[in-house]
Amino acid sequence: MSLRPSLQAVADAVPHGARVLDIGCGDGALLAHLRDSKNVEGRGIDVSAANVAAAVARGLSVVQGDADADLADYPDGAFDMAILSDTLQAMRAPAKVLAELLRIARRAVVSFPNFCHWRVRGSILFGGRMPVTPILPVSWYETTNIHFCSIDDFLNLVDELGLKVESATFLSGGVRRSPALANLLAEQAVFVLSRP
């Protein structure tokens, strides 16, 4: 089974045999891939009952829940890695969630769409409209994304929270690209974070 490029970049960051919590795991595609290809012991959380039913039907351990509220249940250091893929921007309290990730896991992989990609900037600057792009395909009035950030904004928050960036991957058009001018040229970013 092939994953979409940003999920593949997240999967690449997860070590073999790790204990993983995937927050916003959707129908469990990533967790199933990690279980089958890397022998990962995975758990998931998703807000949608239909997604959870699909994930459980795949044999995964997934609970219906809300990362903003339910991460508090997990004990410190319960996981090797917490995954937050394409979900940060939908959180009510992204800073709190990031801090929680690195309480319950030693490392966190966080991927998100870059809101300062040139196509987004262009849409706002020249079109005068909120962007609808391949990475942000949903109109402003329907999107579940409530906290957009740029790559530089994210790095700023990581700094403020006293977290450490272990590695970063940038994607554009589904292809990895160099970190040069990432805040302008990358559509998506995948960061591996830890506590220093």
Binding site: R43, A49, A50, V52, A53, A55, V56, A57, R58, G59, L60, S61, V62, V63, Q64, G65, D70, D73, Y74, P75, A78
Partner: protein, 381 residues
């Protein structure tokens, strides 16, 4: 524990079985029973490695006839939507056991059983039992059947309580738990509704302190108890959709106290049908057992501690399902269990499914529930 493969001629296996297990059988109350009668059914064949056994636990007024015709009412098994050929729990693949609970009135020891000390029915001299006692009785039955470890224990409502209790009492004997539309404790509201039912029974002169005879049972009291309880199994939305304010067999209000509304007529029918198949004293004992249920209580009130051994020592897997319109054991109760299981580090799955049918949803057509249970069981096979 030795596991013996069942033979066709082995009378321990099949439909409508009865067994007497010699005592003494110690109870949570400190009392004990001299022996234990259990009415049960099995379906399918125990695998040579014994790894395909699934115990199904029934709810308050259920019985062991989970997927076979009820010998008295002639009705189909109460969970044929989940259990049967081609269903998530399938006799082709699984060895399925369902037993009448301790305290029940369908072949297992209960207040209607003969007290060997007096030669008369126990009635209210039967010791008060708990959910944990019910689980111990099931464990004794499994010993008798040669079943060591269960692949899964599955139940809804009070059956879910037993399933959870199994993981706490015998974490070494249960690889996975499916607990549907249930709770880890009875709330004040749950206890309150049960008390209404018990008082209705005890207020019936025919109850006679529990010493009623077969031809003079407290049917009025038991029917009212069932009517009150039945309301808690449905949702307001479901009642409104099904009955609204529609009148029964009449065009206009009658200015009297007959069952003028359809919902009244329906409830009266539910009450009357129930007394045909259930014993009033059993109803008292089983509702009491549910009211006493609080899994966290023996663990300093910390539910996560109750699950600690199952999660850490045995890797028991859990699946919970709640339903949107269930106000008897609402989603918050399931989430409380999920929280505790996560804190204990257990492998847990949970989802809240949409249904207009209230608490009863777990017994009705629920394709998503079947999908969840099927996926969960297959993953642990």
């Amino acid at each position: 524990m030795s596991v013996s493969a069942p033979q066709a001629a082995d009378t321990r296996f099949g439909l409508d079985r009865r067994v007497h297990l010699p005592g003494p059988f110690a109870l949570a109350s400190g009392q004990s029973l001299m022996g234990l009668d259990i009415g049960y059914e099995t379906y399918g064949t125990l695998a040579p490695d014994g790894r395909n056994a699934i115990l199904i636990c029934h709810a308050l007024t259920g019985d062991q006839h989970v997927a076979s015709l009820h010998p008295r009412t002639g009705k189909p098994g109460w969970w044929q939507r989940l259990v049967g050929a081609g269903k998530p729990i399938d006799p082709e693949r699984h060895f399925i056991i369902c037993a009448n609970v301790l305290g029940g009135c369908s072949g297992s020891s209960g207040p209607g059983s003969i007290d060997p000390g007096t030669g008369f029915p126990y009635a209210m001299a039967f010791p008060v039992i708990t959910i944990s006692d019910m689980v111990e009785a099931q464990a004794a039955l499994l010993d008798n059947l040669g079943v060591g470890t269960l692949m899964a224990v599955v139940g809804g409502s009070m059956g879910g309580m037993q399933a959870l209790q199994w993981a706490v009492s015998h974490p070494d004997r249960v690889r996975s738990v499916v607990a549907l539309a249930t709770a880890a404790r009875h709330s004040a509201q749950n206890i309150a509704f049960h008390e209404v039912g018990r008082q209705a029974i005890m207020a019936d002169p025919a109850w006679a302190g529990g010493n009623y005879t077969a031809d003079c049972q407290p049917v009025a009291g038991l029917a009212v108890a069932r009517m009150a309880a039945h309301i808690t199994y449905l949702s307001e939305q479901g009642l409104t959709a099904r009955f609204g304010r529609r009148l029964q067999d009449r065009e206009a209000l009658g200015f009297g106290f007959d069952a003028e509304f359809q919902v009244e007529s329906y409830l009266r029918h539910q009450g009357l049908a129930f007394v045909e198949r259930f014993d009033a004293n059993s109803y008292l004992y089983i509702t009491r057992a549910m009211d006493y249920f609080d899994l966290a209580a023996p663990h300093d009130g910390v539910l996560a501690k109750a699950f600690s051994s199952a999660a850490k020592d045995f890797g028991t897997r859990f699946a919970l399902v709640s339903f949107t319109t269930d106000w008897l054991y609402p989603t918050a109760e399931s989430k409380r269990i999920v929280s505790a299981l996560n804190a204990a580090g257990a492998a847990v799955s949970f989802c809240e499914l949409e249904s207009p049918h209230g608490h009863d949803a777990f017994l009705l057509e629920a394709p998503e529930m079947n999908r969840v249970v099927d996926g969960f069981l297959r993953a642990g096979a």
